[in-house]
């Protein structure tokens, strides 16, 4: 059976009071929406928590979790991230999609020829970045906007990308190639320096 894909919706910041309540931070766009995803689980889906929120400020709530009765138990949960199955997310409207769903899509060029696979979506404050990697280990980081990337086709699970010829890329497999090329005659892969002399040569 294929395990469910989990998404992180919150994190326990620490214990609150002596009755087993915890301080909880919600990562959802509307902080109170974390309740919609309950019951939540930990990263390995080993423990399940039903959630009851008492109060809070902004995205930080005071909450009660099932099975957590005192402060000692609450203290042990400090830093635990709370997850929910991705299927519980509301369906995006027509023509909309979750950025989280993009990794794994096939990247094709304008003629429909396979370029690689989407490996991630990042944002460092200067627009969304689409990471595309081909089978040879070459990775391109493309701005997620026209003319570099078009709207993804979620039904066909593919996205059209336009990578100019001189576009910068990084090569993941370069180091391995270097080692193979410079293999020493004794069979040892040496990264640099003088070749080691054998006992016969000395």
């Amino acid at each position: 059976m294929k395990p469910e894909r989990l998404i992180c919706v919150g994190q326990i910041l620490g214990a609150h009071g002596v009755k087993g309540e915890v301080k909880l931070k919600s990562f959802t766009l509307n902080p109170r929406d974390i309740l919609r995803y309950a019951p939540l689980c930990d990263e390995k889906a080993m423990r399940e928590f039903a959630l009851k929120i008492r109060g809070g400020v902004g995205a930080v709530f005071i909450a009660t979790l099932t099975g957590v009765a005192d402060r000692t138990m609450a203290d042990k949960l400090k830093g635990v991230k709370l997850f929910a199955p991705a299927q519980r997310r509301p369906k995006p409207g027509k023509g909309r999609f979750y950025l989280d769903d993009l990794p794994g899509l096939a990247a094709v060029d304008e003629k429909g020829k396979a370029v690689g696979k989407v490996t991630g979506v990042f944002n460092f404050g200067a627009g969304d970045i689409l990471a595309v990697e081909n089978e040879a280990g070459r990775e391109w980081l493309l701005p997620f906007k026209k003319p570099f990337a078009a709207k993804p086709d979620m039904e066909k699970s593919r996205i059209e990308v336009n990578i100019p010829e001189d576009y910068p890329f990084s090569q993941k497999a370069e180091k391995k190639v270097f080692k193979k090329k410079h293999k020493h005659k004794n069979g040892h892969a040496r990264e640099g320096g003088h070749p080691r002399k054998t006992t016969e040569e000395i």
């Binding site: 909309r96 980081l141 701005p143």
Partner: protein, 96 residues
């Protein structure tokens, strides 16, 4: 201590030349740069730079609210693991 106003913003000369060239061509070329120290100027708005972070070139699409910041601020040098924005949906039209 902040930089004196009379000096004006710092930009590497070669980056200005590159940006002018791309703007004049009217194409959507990406400008590869190692100059993380350069300030983002109003004439860079709409252009896309690839800023080196010591490992990779990260694309930086310049918008109006980035003016006055340095390029390096948008190309982090250390790995940053983001938690998934659960309710983050992308807009239907991604304008170029």
């Amino acid at each position: 201590m902040t930089r004196s106003v009379w000096k004006g913003p710092f930009v590497d000369g070669y980056l200005l030349k590159k940006a002018d060239k791309v703007r004049a061509s009217g194409r959507h070329d990406i400008i590869k740069t190692w100059s993380r120290r350069s300030t983002i100027l109003p004439q860079f708005v709409g252009l896309t730079f690839a800023v080196y972070n010591g490992h990779k070139f990260l694309p930086v699409s310049v918008t109006e609210n980035m003016i006055g910041h340095k390029f390096g601020e948008f190309s982090p040098t250390r790995i940053f693991i983001q938690h998934g924005g659960v309710d983050k949906k992308s807009e239907e039209s991604k304008e170029g």
